[in-house]
């Protein structure tokens, strides 16, 4: 297709008429498709059915060290679950804590800890101003956490190898800049993995704030779509140690998109000093997390290889879904010069950028025709995308047939906004 700007007025009018007709047809179908959240489909959940009966009866409830997982105790988790996450995180077992069902909750709680009791320095809540670097576009729930705690966000764009490090290195000279959220592998929504250079530059940062913290949300660490073309992320702790910076990074992940979303296991990895602060708080907060669920998980998955084999089954389901959307985008919008998008090798999203000032209108048109997208703007702090250009597509939950329809409708809406 030639660029839309090269269309003659008559060609534009013809395309507009045709596109409007297609839109009206979609509207008449009374669709009800939700592409708003990174939610696995039921077929993905079926892959983990074994978990339901993994701990099923008498004398089946003990961890490998003989501990009765039905009772209180083992604050930081059962040994086999700690070991498995240590393997996935490439971190020492002593630096791993197993949490509840949600890594988001662990992150929220860690920020909360920094606000009320500090991250080694003065509690952030007692400072006149606390700022965070917000890598944009990014994950709306990260931004919501910062906003909830009154942390002011400063946007830093993500480039092809991760956040714009020149900007980051400039901003951290301000002592009130206390941290940042990163999704370093298959980022939400762009599917970008941080390059070795980016990880190294992050690891050797010299922030003015001695209690600067990076929330290293490794949400998609094993979520590649292609076994033989998986991005490889540098171990940030190994790099940070070279510069005495290991306290800066706190890594989080969960099995929500490995087993059952919201019924899996979360974990964090951190330096000795951070682990000490976090576990001290935990002794007041909880007696122990759900060890039976940790046991279910580790009865089915014993090593990181077991996880990786399982993730290949997810990828088999997801590849055609991503392909359905990407092919439609290419077919409908390719060459028109009115939209660009990433072709992710993993993660849960496709990030679509339309013309400045168009995204909200596209979202509204889709909504009216029965397709729910992630709230336009949500990929930026405070829900404000200044360019009004970014749309996050979550292609995992709908069926392939729905997806094809949804992607077509989305493209029709993009064209219609450009043409009107």
């Amino acid at each position: 297709m030639k660029p839309l700007k090269d269309f003659t007025p008559a060609q534009k009018e013809a395309l507009k008429t045709e596109t409007q007709k297609r839109y009206d047809n979609f509207s008449a179908e009374k669709l009800n498709i939700d592409m708003s959240r990174g939610k696995p489909g039921p077929d993905q959940l079926d892959l983990s059915e074994k978990l339901l009966t993994a701990v099923s009866g008498a004398n089946d409830y003990k961890s490998e060290n003989g501990f009765d997982c039905r009772n209180y105790g083992l604050l930081t988790g059962i040994p086999e679950c700690i070991r498995l996450f240590a393997e996935l995180f490439e971190a020492p077992e002593n630096n791993v804590i197993i949490g509840g069902n949600s890594s988001l909750e662990l992150m929220f709680d860690y920020i909360s800890q920094c606000v009320t009791n500090g991250a080694g320095g003065k509690p952030w809540g007692q400072l006149p101003e606390v700022k965070f670097i917000a890598v944009t576009p990014g994950y709306d729930r990260h931004f919501a956490i910062a906003e909830y705690f009154g942390i002011k966000m400063i946007n830093v764009p993500i480039l092809s190898g991760g956040p714009d490090m020149d900007m980051v290195e400039g901003l951290i000279k301000d002592e009130s800049v206390k941290g940042m959220f990163c999704v370093p592998k298959y980022s939400n929504p762009d599917g970008i993995s941080y390059s070795d250079e980016t990880v190294k530059r992050l690891a050797e940062m010299r922030p003015a704030a001695s209690d600067f913290r990076v929330i290293w949300d490794n949400a998609y660490m094993v979520h590649g779509l292609y076994e033989n073309d998986d991005d490889k992320l540098l171990n940030v702790f190994d790099e940070a140690k070279k510069h005495g910076n290991e306290d800066i990074f706190v890594m989080f992940a969960s099995t929500s998109k490995i087993t059952f979303p919201g019924a899996g296991v979360s974990a964090l990895a951190a330096s000795d000093a951070n682990i000490k602060m976090i576990t001290k708080r935990m002794t007041m907060q909880i007696i122990s997390y759900d060890k039976l669920n940790q046991l279910r998980f580790t009865k089915v998955f014993k090593t990181s290889d077991d996880i990786k084999a399982h993730m290949r089954l997810h990828a088999e389901i997801l590849r055609p879904k991503f392909a359905a959307v990407l092919e439609t985008l290419e077919k409908e919008l390719g060459g028109l010069g009115i939209a660009s998008w990433n072709v992710p090798k993993g993660g849960y999203f496709i990030s679509l950028n339309v013309e400045t000032g168009s995204a909200k209108k596209v979202g509204d048109l889709c909504k009216k025709a029965g397709l729910i997208l992630t709230n336009v703007g949500a990929t930026f702090p405070y829900g404000i995308d200044e360019n009004d250009a970014n749309i996050r597509i979550a292609p995992t939950f709908p069926s392939p047939a729905e997806l094809k329809k949804a992607a077509e409708l989305l493209c029709v809406a993009v064209k219609l906004v450009c043409l009107s």
Copy 2:
């Protein structure tokens, strides 16, 4: 036995010699008994074995409204679990939220919310001073939460019908007094249930602080030992509503001592205004709690009557354990005038009061002989029992044979301290 103070010097000497010998015999046994925590025994956990297989396979994972519990969603819980807790709490379903595996975590989190974002007024963390009423003796983890958040505690003794309300009514005239923790039924450690008068006086309080909050920790709401002699607690929400005070109370409980400790389900009940504030925060904190675990619970327990029937099985196991300790206390210490204790009708503890200045010494003697008690002092804020008199006995975990030995050793230690 006649009071120790009426013993002749020779009688005292004889008792001392005999008691020392008994202590030495215990020491020689190299005991290893833990009576420190309110932890159910393995036989109690066996009662809930059905839970392990309650959700076991294909198409078994939907809640009654058809929701797939394996996936994200239903922030405040599945309907059948909300309904069940609403029944137990005697509260409307709209005022109930289901949490993770720990009510302690819910309470910690609620206080955290008050500190960072307020309970309707200014965030507590922004005030020069925040105080809480600490009902003593009480639950060490409540005190630890307050201490962690820098909330200053003021002791108010518990009387036979609950906290000393004259003192409470005096203290709440101070605007910096922002709340209190209550275990209103079978209190920890005294096993006291608040009288109707106490509940009514709490419900009609007029605290100077408009955002005064009572953490109503209903941990032992269905944990009576005697079916036909169960304490009946007045519904605090019903009472509070009569005085426009429904925002003051936030109620918490979990199934940790109903099913599996640390692998059960927690819940809270609160006023419309509080529920709104809590759920708003939750949308930033978590996508949803573990609904599969809620489903397991509600597949086995459908109504509060099912719970109550199940709790009778617990009581059958616990009655002989409480009896073993109480009989030993009576036999060894009865009439001596050197110790007093409660005879609880429910809950998880026996509260033993020894002579002023003796409790730590008793704890040390027990420890040396291999019996771990709850840290002496832990039943008071900051771990400071000014009288050094209170010892919490947790008789649920050890076997009956161990318990008998442990209780004897404890009594021997009490006598030895008095005699030396």
